[in-house]
């Protein structure tokens, strides 16, 4: 939607509700502001062109003889729009009847059922019996990309996918082939789409024509829980929704944030997380006793670890750039308490190829393939290409870094090795104490993205066993030595962090909200602090 401060306001009424919108808005945007839903298919706020071809958003405007497509119709001062007049409703009903002429009505086996705009609006028209006697055209299905299938029968040729590829991804390799009732979406024959952002065509599809093969028949829309989160795939920090079912992440959907990712996300991020469902997890605290790692409950484990830490001075540390700000904060505090030198903490970020979405360049799959490298910097950890071998005979502290790529002999000679992690790699099994912590999907917290935007993610999954967020474990450990009290709530952890860190003082849990807040968002002095 156009920025309102840049232009003059006009006021109009939509179904009797008066709204004020900028003069370069369209009627459908004004209706949204008035809280009136105008059904639409071809219009998508993130796709620039408005072909007005689906004809579902027709509205009646007083003083105009013909119904007008509200997606394309500019607002005028004093306009009186009716979306619910007899003419408008009849037109909508007729258009939807036509859209269903060749539609297979296979909702019971369609992935889009429950989140389908055709299903919703067809149901709303109330015409539940077809008046059609002709046989339906059968078009079949096609593979559009290595993981995207196209069900031509369900397609209503709204061309959102074609226009996303052409205008936003700026990759003109998805087209409408043939014409009329034989029209379908196609790539060049025998060539699949190959674009790092192509997954978005599934999201923009208002019906079940484009589906991810990965998600095919996996879940019904209404069986999934949806949790606002942040994609941990790279340092861009795209806002996403985690769709979960039976304590597993089923899929990721982009969540609108005009400052970060608009309506989109990349395919790397989309696929990255499904792996999160796999791997052996740490479920209970394990403390080495007599050479063996023994399972314990939290209070025994923290007591045992606290006791061992009592005699320790110095050492080195490794953190994961996927650890959240709060965990990094308490970890840094613990290291300070133990006298670990400030420059003895390091982190390593996996690197990958950069890809920018041409139609919204702020959405870039960054080279840094981790969510919180900026956060690790902020808390004074040093970025390295490979972890320095810990000094023989000195203690080693690891936060969430799996050490999967560490050399086999890594940390062999550590005098004491504390590992807080969610997965057990061969190197991690060498620890003297393993404290099981949650992944970002199993906890609440914040990440700092590449431009210093601090963004919140919420808890979507139940952690395995008795794993806890690292900030909770670390604050508990600190409290044992009389340093503060255990923190049980992410908001409190965030509060303590921002109180103690001047460069984060500008942040506020509520203001971070669902859209994030940048570290330089405060007036004046703090501007730019911490942001790389």
């Amino acid at each position: 939607m156009p920025e309102e401060e840049n232009s003059d306001l006009v006021s109009l009424t939509i179904d009797g509700v008066e709204v004020q919108v900028s003069e370069d808005s369209t009627v459908i945007e004004a209706a949204e502001k008035a809280g009136v839903v105008v059904p639409h298919y071809c219009y998508h706020p993130g796709i620039p062109t408005r072909p007005a071809q689906c004809r579902v958003c027709l509205v009646e405007v007083e003083g105009q003889d013909k119904l007008q497509p509200s997606c394309k119709l500019p607002v005028q001062d004093g306009m009186e729009v009716h979306t619910d007049s007899d003419d408008a409703e009849l037109a909508r009903k007729s258009v939807i009847e036509f859209l269903l002429v060749n539609h297979p009505l296979d909702c019971p086996i369609c992935d889009a059922a429950g989140q389908c705009m055709l299903q919703d609006y067809a149901f709303e028209t109330g015409q539940l019996q077809s008046r059609l006697n002709e046989e339906k055209l059968v078009m079949g299905r096609d593979r559009i990309a290595d993981d995207i299938l196209y069900f031509a029968d369900r397609c209503i040729i709204c061309t959102r996918c074609v226009r996303f590829m052409r205008e936003v991804a700026q990759d003109d390799s998805l087209v409408v082939a043939q014409r009329g009732d034989r029209a379908y979406i196609d790539t060049f024959p025998d060539e699949d789409l190959d674009n790092p952002f192509q997954g978005n065509i599934v999201d923009v599809c208002p019906v079940g024509a484009l589906v991810h093969e990965d998600y095919l028949f996996k879940a019904r829309a209404w069986d999934m829980d949806k949790t606002p989160s942040i994609c941990p795939g790279c340092s861009n920090g795209c806002n996403v929704t985690l769709d979960t079912k039976e304590n597993q992440i089923v899929r990721l959907k982009p969540r609108y944030n005009g400052e970060v990712n608009s309506y989109w996300m990349c395919d790397y991020g989309r696929k990255h997380l499904v792996m999160g469902n796999r791997g052996v997890r740490t479920e209970v605290p394990l403390v080495r006793q007599g050479g063996e790692l023994e399972p314990m409950d939290w209070s025994d484990a923290l007591a045992a670890v606290g006791e061992r830490l009592g005699g320790i001075e110095g050492g080195s540390a490794v953190v994961s750039p996927d650890a959240c700000n709060e965990s990094l904060h308490y970890f840094r505090r613990l290291l300070d308490t133990l006298g670990v030198p400030a420059d003895a903490g390091s982190y390593r970020v996996e690197q990958g190829e950069e890809h920018t979405l041409p139609g919204f360049p702020k959405l870039t799959l960054r080279e840094d393939r981790a969510a919180n490298g900026t956060g690790a910097d902020l808390f004074g950890f040093r970025r390295v290409e490979s972890w320095p071998e810990p000094e023989p005979g000195a203690p080693l502290f690891v936060l969430q870094e799996t050490l999967r790529e560490a050399p086999e002999s890594y940390a062999e000679d550590a005098s004491f090795f504390l590992y807080l992690g969610s997965h057990l790699s061969p190197a991690a099994r060498r620890a003297d104490a393993v404290l099981p912590v949650t992944t970002f999907a199993e906890m609440a917290g914040t990440f700092t993205n590449h431009e210093g935007r601090v963004q919140r993610f919420q808890k979507a999954l139940q952690p395995p066993g008795i794993a806890r967020p690292a900030w909770m474990v670390l604050s508990g450990l600190l409290a044992r030595s009389g340093d503060g009290s255990p923190v049980l709530d992410a908001a409190d952890a965030f509060g303590e962090m921002t109180d103690e860190r001047p460069e984060m003082a500008v942040l506020n849990w509520g203001r971070v909200g669902l859209k994030g807040q940048t570290l330089d968002s405060g007036a004046g002095a703090e501007a730019g602090a911490g942001a790389r």
């Binding site: 087209v175 196609d186 790539t187 025998d190």
Partner: protein
Amino acid sequence: MSDEVELHPAVAGAQPYMRAETQGENSAPEDAPLFDDGAGRERLEKVLSRYPTRRAALLPLLNYAQERNGWVSRPAMKEIAGELDLTPAYVHSVATFYTMYNQRPVGKYLIQVCTNISCDLCGGEEVLERFLEETGTRPGETSEDGLYTVMEVECLGACGFATVVQVNDEYYEDVTPERVPEILDELD
């Protein structure tokens, strides 16, 4: 009009595109490049000189591909896309939008029978049936000897002479089922 009128180079050669004699048995192999030889190059330059943008030359070049091969093949679409800075997918989209671009190879004689309203009232369906019978094909299919492809088409714009049949670039008017064998004989 006098023969002396000199045509602007941009319009010279702008005669209606003829279906070349190279169709059918003489047609070039479908993967022979369109613009490698002198004739292809010349046509390309001429077409490009007529339009302000390269994209605009798409239809004339698809016409040329069909002139040469009798249909628009995938390699041809890719070649045209390359010349015009378009994606092959876009060319595919345009080529399939227009039903008169053949998506498959056609026989030496492309027989298009009009079954639109006027022709149909005058027996267009029967004419179509007879053509299919005589050539032993189904609509759109090419006969085994590679000679005939029979298609049902919409109005050919000669309703005063229904039923109208177009064979390659020739019109046959007032066609009745009885005349069909005669027309086929004439072709060979």
